[in-house]
Symmetry: C2
């Protein structure tokens, strides 16, 4: 393992987690690598050990995005997190955020690195980053994600490295580029999905490295469900619609695709597999999941760009067995580049993101259950929805065995306004809102997207809103949340 530290002076800094973690004390601003994958494993464990041994301290934890149980989960449980930014998806951490025990602020992922460089988040006391190697000149080769690590490493006063047992062959898959900040920024020179514009390593000042740990811990694997009927139907609606737009000459045939995180996103990309119309795909996304490997294997991918890879156990094995082949197609970038509004709009990305609920006028709630309870965060959905050439918002029409309708009179929280959403999709159908007034959107969303069990209730609300208040977007403010309130009282949105 030590031979992975090709910059010899850093070999002397190899130590044990307990020694390394002493640099982290009460009040430390801790900036870690990690974006669904590629997070440090040893230091979080050591912090938990200290807390269990009775030490009292709190850290402010900043990552690339979510990190899963092995960081967010155990640290939250140990009660050592004061602040957490941005996006997380761990159950324990979520509970503590909603109980105001952990302070959380949800940001567009594309904006964070610049804010850290501007000093908006305070001093970067310590960065803890996972790497597969340190180069001859003392630079870092990251693991399965890039996230905000380049900026964290640049800004941190002290750096702790966890050398990962992940394959050294990952070297070369990353493309690291930190843009200048305004007013001296120049265009980000990505013109095609696969363009490489930076270096395959993260530049680092080795003098700020205070400890190097040799790790044997791997990322926990993703578990993807086989796409169910609902996911397959939603994917089919999207692929049919895009095919139609391309055939009508309203959409060029070669725009890149983005698909959010999770089962539905994976299902949409899987939908490409059986569809001969789609070949030579460009994928300009945030998180690359199993389906991307499948599509590469079928010869359907020209280039796939993201900030991280989250793979199932099975896909991981394939990936590492033939890494040389996948590296020709895949590039991993900092999240401020993968999610860059400039690049997303230039390339004309077709963006597909999921919602918790959508209202009849196309306003989207991506983050809060019944208006108050944080789910995971906005993540990159705003970056892609707002800037894509064509943006889909996708949700199964119901949740909780039909007791919750994902189509509601008014969403209980808005993350994306109707102005940023082009097409609403459920398993029942799809509405292209672009040529429609809000009233026309409502009519079609109720008829085509809502679950049949809720259509009459939604229609009744819509009609009474028209006749009572009227207006461009008729609402009855005294019953806009009746669906939600009924659910809170009875456990079901049904009458």
């Amino acid at each position: 393992m030590k031979d992975r530290i090709r910059y010899a002076p850093l070999r002397d800094k190899v130590t044990d987690p307990a020694t390394a973690a002493r640099h982290i004390q009460d009040g430390t601003n801790l900036f870690i690598s990690g974006f669904t994958a590629g997070y440090p494993k040893l230091i979080p464990r050591e912090l938990v050990r200290r807390a269990s041994a009775g030490e009292t301290f709190k850290i402010n934890l900043f990552a690339g995005a979510s990190t899963g149980d092995s960081v967010d989960g155990i640290l939250a449980e140990a009660g050592v997190v004061a602040w957490r930014r941005p996006y997380m998806s761990d159950r324990t951490m979520r509970q503590q955020i909603n109980a105001d025990l952990i302070k959380f602020k949800d940001d567009h992922l594309s904006r964070l690195a610049g804010q850290v460089r501007a000093g908006d988040w305070g001093a970067a006391h310590v960065a803890v980053v996972e790497a597969v190697a340190v180069t001859e000149k003392g630079h870092l080769v990251p693991t399965m994600s890039v996230g905000n690590t380049p900026t964290y490493v640049r800004e941190a006063e002290k750096i702790i490295i966890e050398i990962s047992p992940e394959s050294k062959e990952l070297e070369g898959i990353h493309d690291i580029y930190i843009p200048e900040d305004p007013p001296y920024r120049m265009p980000i020179p990505i013109y095609r999905t696969g363009d490489r514009i930076g270096k395959p390593f993260i530049e680092m000042d080795p003098d700020r490295v205070v400890a190097v740990l040799l790790s044997d811990a791997q990322d926990s694997c993703a578990v993807f469900a086989e796409p169910d009927q609902v996911a397959r139907q939603m994917a089919a609606h999207i692929l049919d619609f895009v095919r139609h737009e391309i055939k009508q000459d309203r959409l060029p045939p070669t725009l890149p695709w983005q698909s959010g995180v999770g089962d539905v996103a994976n299902a949409v990309l899987s939908g490409f597999m059986a569809d001969d119309f789609y070949r030579d795909l460009d994928i300009y996304s945030e998180v690359l999941q199993d389906a991307v490997l499948d599509l590469i294997d079928m010869g359907k991918v020209r280039a796939a760009s993201g900030s991280s890879m989250t793979l199932s156990h099975h896909a991981r094995e394939r990936f590492f067995n033939e890494l040389y082949r996948y590296k020709e197609k895949i590039v991993l970038r900092p999240v401020e580049i993968s999610n860059s509004p400039e690049v997303i709009r230039r390339l004309g990305v077709i963006a597909i993101n999921t919602a918790i609920e959508v209202d009849i006028y196309g306003q989207v709630n991506s983050t809060h259950l019944t208006g108050s309870q944080m789910m995971n965060g906005i993540g990159g959905s705003g970056d892609f929805l707002r800037n894509g050439a064509l943006s889909f918002i996708v949700t199964p029409s119901t949740a909780k065995d039909g007791r919750v309708s994902a189509i509601v009179p008014m969403v209980s929280h808005v993350d994306h306004s109707e102005h940023s959403v082009d097409v609403v999709v459920t398993e029942h159908g799809l509405v292209d809102t672009r040529p429609l007034t809000p009233r026309q959107v409502a009519e079609q969303v109720i008829k085509k997207c809502a679950h049949p069990d809720y259509r009459d209730m939604l229609w009744d609300y819509f009609q009474r809103a028209i006749h009572s208040h009227g207006g461009h977007e008729p609402h009855l403010l005294d019953e806009a949340f009746d669906f939600h309130n009924r659910y809170l009282v009875t456990g079901s949105m049904k009458g």
Copy 2:
């Protein structure tokens, strides 16, 4: 006037409005120049004449943004508008939009031109554009706005030109650049506010010109109120805050400014005048108003970029008297460039936009009164708020003599989510939401921004929401709109 048509063959196409307007019939998609200024005047008047004479027809009207009474007002009144896109600010048109008599869809201004080129709005049957001249090669020199005119001229099947009596000296103030569309788009090469990247005219195929009209009609002038106490206080809060951020080294001292349309926006820029800290200003905005000329006269402006100029009668006179001098500082661009997310983020614009209401968590309503009634539209606020380096949302704390609070428990419509708003400003104070959780935002917005008359009611809502539902962003969905409902019933939000 005819000598302004320097491309001789077009002189033969000079005709009268009645003849020209025959190209516009029932069902015509009519694309006009105009973005608060620079709209055609003769053709709208002729269409109204035909309607008054008993002819029955409806057009679909597309502009750059608002056009005022002389287009939107009279055409709405004549009942000849079927569809209108985007943004408008005319009272009669607004009433008809809210009564669903005119179909209206509100779009981010930066996206429109590309959608027209993609064919999303249907065939561009006729473009009617105002110009101060036609060049020797048959290209167009626009008047006081650029808006979407370059794309409308490129896409239109037929073009009607209104030669304006406005000074020929405007030639050279415009910078016309139409980006390629995805997937072939390259970076938009603006690196500094004043950069010129295109041509001083709109390229046009003169063979598609079906009529040229010689006009003696001018834009109606803007009327700006002297900044009142409230506007001056809000401006002072913003300037103090930015000064502080610059002194703390969290913001570079030379970022460009954007300020929305109207009195408050004008007041903010006026605030620079008496403030010695601010010099060498760059203004990268949408609409340039009187204050920009004042600042240029004081020697405080390095460059001012926009898509249009809206001036008061007095400022107009000054502007045209010394146009040669103002042209050195001012550049007018297509709205897809003035509002380009790519450029706004690259330059690091400080964005100031106004709201109808803001809620305690920083969600913003820019468009709909009591959730249902369209005011003007989202315009460019989303383009700037979402992509600026620092974004302010500004509103007087009350409206309607104090009977309406602009700070509410939950906004009745969301255009901009809390993730896209950095700082909330009223005359009472300012809250920088960036380092705060939603609960901390609520606490501070209630204490610092809300009008004292409403603070107790807001605090009561907030506290009960915490103790009842809790969560990351506590809300009581059964009384979130009590302020609005009370106003609808009693005419006041007060208890």
